[in-house]
């Protein structure tokens, strides 16, 4: 009996991601959830600009490519015009937390009934490792060669906490994928974010703390350890909003 195989909601296209990039794991989790909920035929995904720009080639459901950062706005339009479809966006930190912060906050503030998968690896991957709004204090990047200095470059943005100040979001959770247990937890959160939409509950966002071995300048395994050592103290895992749990 097959107990683990590539999910049906992924195409046969080979991922272009670097060796050890956790985008591949997160793509697979989203696809597994689509398979388990049996919604591939009625799901519409919105791809970002960034490393995951080619996500439209990898997911077997219908996909749209948004202008940089505008995926939540596109998702809003699709969901409002076709409310019976399941609409998700898949965005990195450069897309969602930088150029797209306006669309992210506005969509969350309106409580749009969409699902957002936010991959936070604290760096701009596709363009070669520049500093992101989520880069850590002291983190060396192409544009912060002496480490991020808050005096001139500010402090990292915690997206889940920021959105949790809004009234409308239904569900905000931060997970990571740096070991087997955390991958399982990440899948539960992603599944809940899709189920919320199917049940009409409103805006759900899952932030996945992710690794970028290439631009962090580490081996893939070291990058997963770095998540525990450096990323999680800045970006604590946990549920920041779940209206189901509120009385």
């Amino acid at each position: 009996m097959v107990v683990f195989e590539k999910p049906k909601a992924l195409t046969d296209k080979v991922f272009h991601y670097c060796p050890g990039c956790t985008h591949g794991i997160i793509h697979r989790l989203v696809a597994e959830v689509i398979d388990e909920l049996g919604i591939e035929g009625q799901t519409i995904g919105v791809a970002p600009v960034g490393c995951a720009v080619l996500a439209y080639d990898y997911f077997a459901c219908d996909m749209i490519e948004a202008a940089h950062g505008r995926a939540p706005a596109i998702a809003t339009g699709v969901k409002r015009s076709m409310p019976d479809k399941v609409v998700f966006t898949y965005q990195g930190d450069g897309d969602l937390a930088s150029i797209g912060m306006c669309e992210t906050v506005s969509t969350a503030a309106r409580g749009e009934n969409v699902t957002i998968i936010f991959v936070n690896n604290a760096i701009y991957g596709m363009t070669g490792g520049q500093m992101a709004p989520t880069s850590l204090i002291g983190q060396v990047t192409q544009t912060s060669p002496y480490g991020r200095d808050p005096k001139t470059q500010g402090y990292p943005i915690r997206v889940c906490e920021l959105l949790a100040t809004l009234d409308a979001p239904q569900y905000l959770e931060r997970v990571t994928v740096n070991n087997v247990k955390n991958v399982r937890n990440a899948k539960k959160a992603i599944k809940k974010a899709f189920q919320n939409q199917i049940e009409g509950k409103g805006f759900s966002l899952v932030e996945v703390v992710s690794a970028c071995p290439t631009n962090w300048g580490m081996t893939p395994q070291k990058a997963l350890e770095w998540i525990d050592e450096k990323m999680l103290p800045q970006y604590p895992l946990g549920c920041y909003r779940d209206k189901d749990q509120e009385v």
């Binding site: 050890g20 591949g24 070991n179 893939p220």
Partner: protein, 68 residues
């Protein structure tokens, strides 16, 4: 008995599965490359594999299929 199947041409040799295996049964191949030029992963002692799928869960490239 568990059986692992590797889509070797998809493997990028990142080694995340090697570290994920609780029994340390996986290793990157010695002295050979796949078509992409990466060192693919191999199962060193197949008879000890229990099919827990930890390797497949950590694989970013869906290389591994697990049967039990």
């Amino acid at each position: 008995m568990a059986k692992l199947t590797f889509k070797e041409e998809l493997c990028k040799g990142c080694g995340l599965c090697v570290n994920a295996c609780p029994k340390g049964l996986l290793a990157l191949a010695q002295g050979r490359l796949n078509q992409k030029g990466h060192t693919p992963v191999e199962l060193t002692r197949p008879e000890e594999c229990v099919g827990c799928a930890s390797c497949a869960i950590m694989c970013p490239d869906c290389v591994i299929t697990v049967e039990r």
